[in-house]
């Protein structure tokens, strides 16, 4: 049995399925109750589970994340919502200094089964403080897991997998993908483990690694490349920590060309980190320089022409891939 839903809708579906199975799972966040969330990603949950399990908070992200941490330590499985990933800035200490380290600092006395969901990314005209690729703020902080689903199936399976995970998971839902549709199988089989990449499209000429919005653009680019005889393999890592390096290395063994596409500046990004890992650990697999197609080093601008230019386009991916294959 399966349903067709969009990316936005499947969020509530995944949470509801976990909440039905496990009474320790609850939600905490701003306007997630009767309002169903700023993006309606919690629609229906309040009606089904009530105010005890779907908890509307004041505007106080430090308290939200920290309360979720305290509850997780005590054995519950909170699903906290930070409305936009950018707002992780106001609770950054709680995430990196408290949530990420509590287990370690106590020498393993506790586990922290906590999921923090955030709306991510650019492309929707929300400007510099509501459009960032939040995943890159947390890469250097051991203790966190980071999930970046691009499809309905992955979102469903990974969100359930994250809630079941006994470690803190930062779960990024891309605002630009809310209307992407997909088919949701019901049942536990759909639950996905963290740390397994998805080979979205096979190919032998070049390996393109991309997440979320850029994964979709990369698939489009791969189609265009196919038309000119270039077989691109598109890999979506789906989780950044842990990262399925082996999947990329396997692909490079075939293609020997690496193109990473991301919607953020280069420095401190997951893409740069991947390029670094692949070149330090799999240098001899590469027959051409690795390539990292990124956004320019600027905040996200508001105007449509500027924001469009800020995001790597399908054309830019195609062009970069051609260059690389021609190297």
């Amino acid at each position: 049995m399966s349903d067709t839903l969009n990316y936005r809708q499947v969020i509530a579906r995944a949470i509801a399925d976990e909440m039905r199975e496990d009474p320790d799972v609850f939600m905490i966040g701003e306007d997630i109750g009767a309002a169903g969330g700023a993006f309606k990603t919690a629609a229906g949950l309040f009606e089904e589970f009530g105010p005890r399990r779907v908890r509307d908070t004041p505007i106080s992200e430090q308290a939200i994340v920290g309360a979720a941490l305290g509850a997780a330590i005590m054995g519950l499985r909170p699903v906290a919502e930070i409305m936009f990933a950018d707002f992780a800035g106001v609770c950054y200490d709680q995430i990196v200094n408290q949530v990420a380290k509590h287990r370690y600092m106590t020498g393993g006395q506790v586990t922290v089964p906590l999921t923090i969901r955030m709306a991510n990314g650019a492309g929707t005209g929300f400007a510099a403080q509501h459009s960032q690729a939040g995943e890159n703020w947390f890469l250097n902080v051991p203790g966190l897991k980071i999930v970046v689903p691009a499809t309905v199936e992955d979102l469903y399976g990974l969100l359930r997998g994250s809630i079941r995970d006994n470690d803190p998971v930062l779960f990024f839902e891309h605002k630009g993908l809310f209307s992407v549709k997909g088919t949701v199988p019901t049942g536990d089989a759909a639950v996905l483990p963290l740390g397994v990449a998805s080979v979205v499209r096979e190919g032998s000429d070049i390996t393109i690694v991309a997440t979320q919005q850029m994964r979709h653009r990369s698939v489009e680019a791969a189609e265009a490349l196919a038309a000119v005889g270039i077989a691109a393999e598109v890999i979506d890592p789906r989780t950044l920590i842990p990262f399925d390096d082996a999947a990329v290395a396997r692909s490079l063994a075939k293609t020997s060309r690496l193109l990473v596409v991301q919607e953020s500046p280069q420095d401190g990004s997951w893409g740069a980190s991947l390029v670094s890992r692949m070149t330090t650990q799999h240098f001899t697999l590469l027959d051409a320089p690795p390539s990292l197609l990124s956004s320019p080093d600027s905040p996200v601008p508001y105007a449509g022409v500027l924001e469009d230019a800020w995001l790597p386009s399908v054309d830019a991916i195609v062009a970069r891939a051609k260059e690389l294959v021609a190297f």
């Binding site: 306007d31 009767a34 309002a35 400007a127 320019p296 080093d297 508001y302």
Partner: protein
């Protein structure tokens, strides 16, 4: 600290510049009508947050300021920025993402700024700009000059950490800052009572040893009067004031919110206290009917002309995206 009756109010003889206040409120009201129109034509990106119904707060407060004084506000900041004297056309231009916009199209609706008139910036992070106003006030104090700085923010914003830290620091240093809560009774969709365990937000001033004033935020004269007292106090080196303006937003939180969660009676009673209608009634009662009608008419014409002008402006050059990151 609870209810502080503030005089004069609309009930008293009107000030000489009553028509100016009316004009300013009309401009904001009509400006936002047009923004809604442009939004539905897909000419505005992201989201936009109207302050219609709250015009008396910003117009009243800003009319008590002098050149050199500064102001910071939120994403719901069209009114505040216009009340400081930002030009209508460039405000339209910004929201339209045009090169001639206040910020060259890089800010958009949530980030209007016109530093030349003291509008230092609109912030899209709840509470994020309160420290900026503390800093602007610190600059005056440091230099021994007399400028004050005002921060506007919502009722929901009084629960975030930056509010607490800002008021405390401003008070301990007796800085010339004025903190104005635009209490429009709701956060995004949450009622004040659901997020805040006290009724009178101005009572929080006591935690910082500063005066807390509760004012009818739909009475532009009362708002100005309360602000004047705060300004005098600030300029005299006696420190900051917290003003709670009791008001209401006419529409939903943002363009995507039909605001169905509000009781009909409540909406009705607040609309009956429309700040513009109230001032206009008072002006008409004191014999200014024709002049008021003329103000309304010219405000409308000016807003339309500004919109039309801004619509002729080009989009930014792509190179602008990489400007103004560093100096």
């Amino acid at each position: 600290m609870t209810y502080h009756p503030v005089n004069p109010t609309l009930a008293d003889p009107l000030p000489a510049d009553a028509l100016e206040l009316l004009r300013s409120m009309y401009e904001i009201r009509f400006f936002e009508d047009e923004i809604m129109g442009l939004f539905s034509q897909n000419l505005v990106r992201g989201s936009t947050h109207l302050c219609q119904g709250q015009e008396a707060v910003t117009v009243g407060v800003c009319s008590a300021l002098s050149p050199g004084d500064t102001m910071t506000c939120t994403y719901r900041g069209h009114g505040a920025v216009l009340a400081m004297g930002a030009p209508l056309d460039r405000a339209f231009g910004e929201i339209l993402g045009r090169a001639g916009g206040l910020c060259g199209g890089k800010g958009g609706s949530m980030h209007l700024a016109d530093v030349s008139v003291g509008a230092l910036g609109s912030n899209a992070i709840v509470g994020g700009h309160l420290p900026t106003t503390v800093g602007a006030a610190l600059a005056a104090s440091y230099r021994g000059t007399s400028e004050v700085s005002v921060a506007f923010f919502g009722d929901g914003s009084t629960n975030i950490g930056a509010f607490h830290e800002s008021l405390n620091l401003a008070s301990i240093w007796k800085l010339p800052a004025i903190f104005v809560i635009e209490n429009n009774q709701y956060g995004e969709y949450s009622t004040l009572a659901s997020t805040t365990p006290i009724e009178r937000l101005s009572d929080r001033a006591a935690s910082y040893g500063m005066p807390g004033v509760f004012v009818d935020g739909n009475d532009v004269i009362a708002m100005r009067s309360a602000t004047k007292t705060a300004v005098e106090r600030a300029r005299a080196g006696e420190g900051p004031t917290l003003i709670e303006a009791d008001t209401y937003r006419h529409s939903g939180h943002s363009r995507s919110d039909p605001a169905k969660y509000r009781p009909e009676e409540e909406v009705k009673s607040w609309f009956a206290r429309d700040p513009i209608v109230q001032l206009r009634n008072a002006i008409e009662a004191s014999g200014g009917a024709d002049a008021a009608a003329e103000v309304e008419r010219t405000a409308h014409t000016d807003v339309d002309a500004a919109r039309d002008l801004a619509l002729t402006w080009p989009e930014p050059e792509l190179s602008a995206g990489m400007e103004h990151i560093y100096s």
